[in-house]
Amino acid sequence: MSQWIEVCATDDIDDEDVMRFDHRGQTFAIYHSPDNKFYATDGLCTHEKVHLADGLVMDNIIECPKHNGRFDYRNGVAKGAPVCVNLKTYPVKVEAGKVLINTGA
């Protein structure tokens, strides 16, 4: 039984930025892309478990704050060393000015 969980208002995250969202012991990173879409991934880098929300969003890429591992946050794909394991992504929808994610839990 998966449920949609409200994360924040759409204007809580700037364009081309990221926010950390913790829910039931899990941590997520929620992204607002330059073309005004929202995405969600696991919150921790697959390399050394660092919070990606402290990192930098450039276009469709999130860069880990620790070792500059890069992922395309739209599909979670790792963009080369030092990261080689993709990020898990989660469905996101926007309803009535709110961002919701489906963690599958």
Partner: protein, 406 residues
């Protein structure tokens, strides 16, 4: 005729990254990686930190394991010392008598800790490889007196790790303050205060008279109890192989901006080499930094395969002590003035600006990753030779990212 072959000497971060880069660049020919260590390439930054503080016996964090090397078809020669480069024959000689022909050779031999030259200094442990880290860790039991000679990054990271393990720690620094080389005084002061809070004694301007069996005696007569002594007094580039084969040396193996040595078939990367930096007026640098090792590998490999790319990544490094993270980007010493940016109460970033208003460096300290994003953006601005407005740099609510797009 034999197939053209790419040979890498040195199995650290730089060499390992280069091995991968050959395949990323679609090189189909042989790649040989020669390491004087017996383990596959592993990451060194944890050796002064997690390897010491974690409860579990430290395990190497492999950069390239056997499976990856097999799938990349990297021919890995372990425990192998390269003894000579026969440059006319384009052949590398190993200590066991093997001869390895190369089409292009990449030297990534790194740096090694400087030895202390004092009576009794054979007692001083050094930290370079994982065996050193295991040995040091096993000595760091609660209540022991640890004396660390040298208040640089290795010494201070080990002091932080020793304090976490409940040791009584003294850091002995000859200079008037810790981190004299490359870290602004204001940031070094914060780090020193954090060490003091953890109970670590830092003695600056201290010269050592002699080392006894259980203590260190300073020139002014003070005695420091020392069950264990560690020396962290800097690293020396390893270039004997290059020097003996007649390659130009200039504070390391001298490279041009393409990371090519004085022999066009031989390249060098990482801690062992020096190179002119195009965005800093071709100032010749030698960097002992994790990211530099990796970034140089990517550029050198492209050039070894016929590319013409200058290496112009902005220098960047970090240090973790306690919960503090220090980062330096660019070359702070080229700044004429400092603009302070305070992104959070307990975080501080100094922007080092030249007389002409160009951003030359950024140094920051904060808890966890609190300064990471701003320093990364400042690093990119340094790379663009930006001349940002001082008021905008100083305003923590001003988004630095907007300057990159202008």
């Amino acid at each position: 005729m034999t197939e053209a072959s790419m040979v890498i000497v040195g199995g650290g971060k730089a060499g390992a990254r280069a091995a991968v880069a050959f395949r990323e660049n679609a090189w189909k020919g042989p790649v040989t990686l020669i390491s004087d260590e017996t383990l596959a390439p592993y990451d060194r930054p944890p050796l002064s930190k997690a390897a010491i503080t974690d409860d579990a016996e430290p395990q190497p964090t492999y950069l390239l394991d056997e499976g990856m090397m097999a799938s990349l078809e990297v021919n890995f020669l372990r425990g192998a010392a390269a003894t000579a480069i026969y440059r006319e024959a384009k052949t590398l000689a190993l200590a066991d008598g093997k001869r390895i022909p190369y089409d292009r050779l990449l030297i990534a031999t790194g740096a090694e800790p400087r030895q202390l030259l004092l009576a009794g200094s054979e007692r001083a442990l050094l930290l370079r490889d994982i065996a050193d880290a295991v040995r040091i860790r096993n000595e760091f039991s609660e209540g022991r007196n640890i004396a660390i000679i040298g208040g640089g990054f290795i010494g201070l990271e080990l002091a932080s790790s020793a304090a976490k393990r409940g040791c009584r720690v003294t850091v002995i620094e000859a200079q008037p303050r810790i981190l004299m080389r490359g870290v602004p005084a204001e940031i070094a002061t914060r780090i020193a205060a954090r060490h003091a809070e953890a109970g670590v004694t830092i003695l600056v301007g201290a010269s050592i008279a002699h080392i006894g069996p259980d203590k260190i005696v300073l020139s002014d007569g003070r005695e420091i109890a020392a069950d264990i002594i560690i020396a962290g007094i800097g690293a020396a580039p390893r270039f004997k192989l290059a020097e003996q084969s007649g390659l130009a040396i200039e504070n390391g193996i001298a490279c041009n901006t393409y990371l090519q040595t004085s022999d066009p078939h031989v390249f060098a990367i990482g801690d062992c080499c020096s190179f002119p930096h195009p965005i800093f007026g071709n100032e010749r640098l030698r960097l002992e930094a994790w990211r530099n090792a990796s970034d140089q590998a990517i550029v050198a490999v492209e050039n070894m395969l016929g590319g013409q790319r200058q290496y112009e990544a902005v220098p960047w490094f970090w240090s973790d002590q306690y919960e503090l993270n220090l980062q330096i980007a660019g070359l702070p010493h080229l700044g004429a003035s400092v603009v302070k940016r305070v992104p959070k109460d307990d975080a501080l970033i100094l922007c080092h600006v030249s007389a002409e208003g160009r951003l030359m460096g950024a140094s920051g300290i904060g808890q966890g990753n609190s300064i990471a994003r701003d320093v990364r953006l400042l690093e990119m601005l340094i790379g663009k030779k930006a001349t940002p407005d001082a008021a905008q740099l100083a305003d923590p609510s001003f988004p630095l990212k907007s300057l990159l797009k202008s």
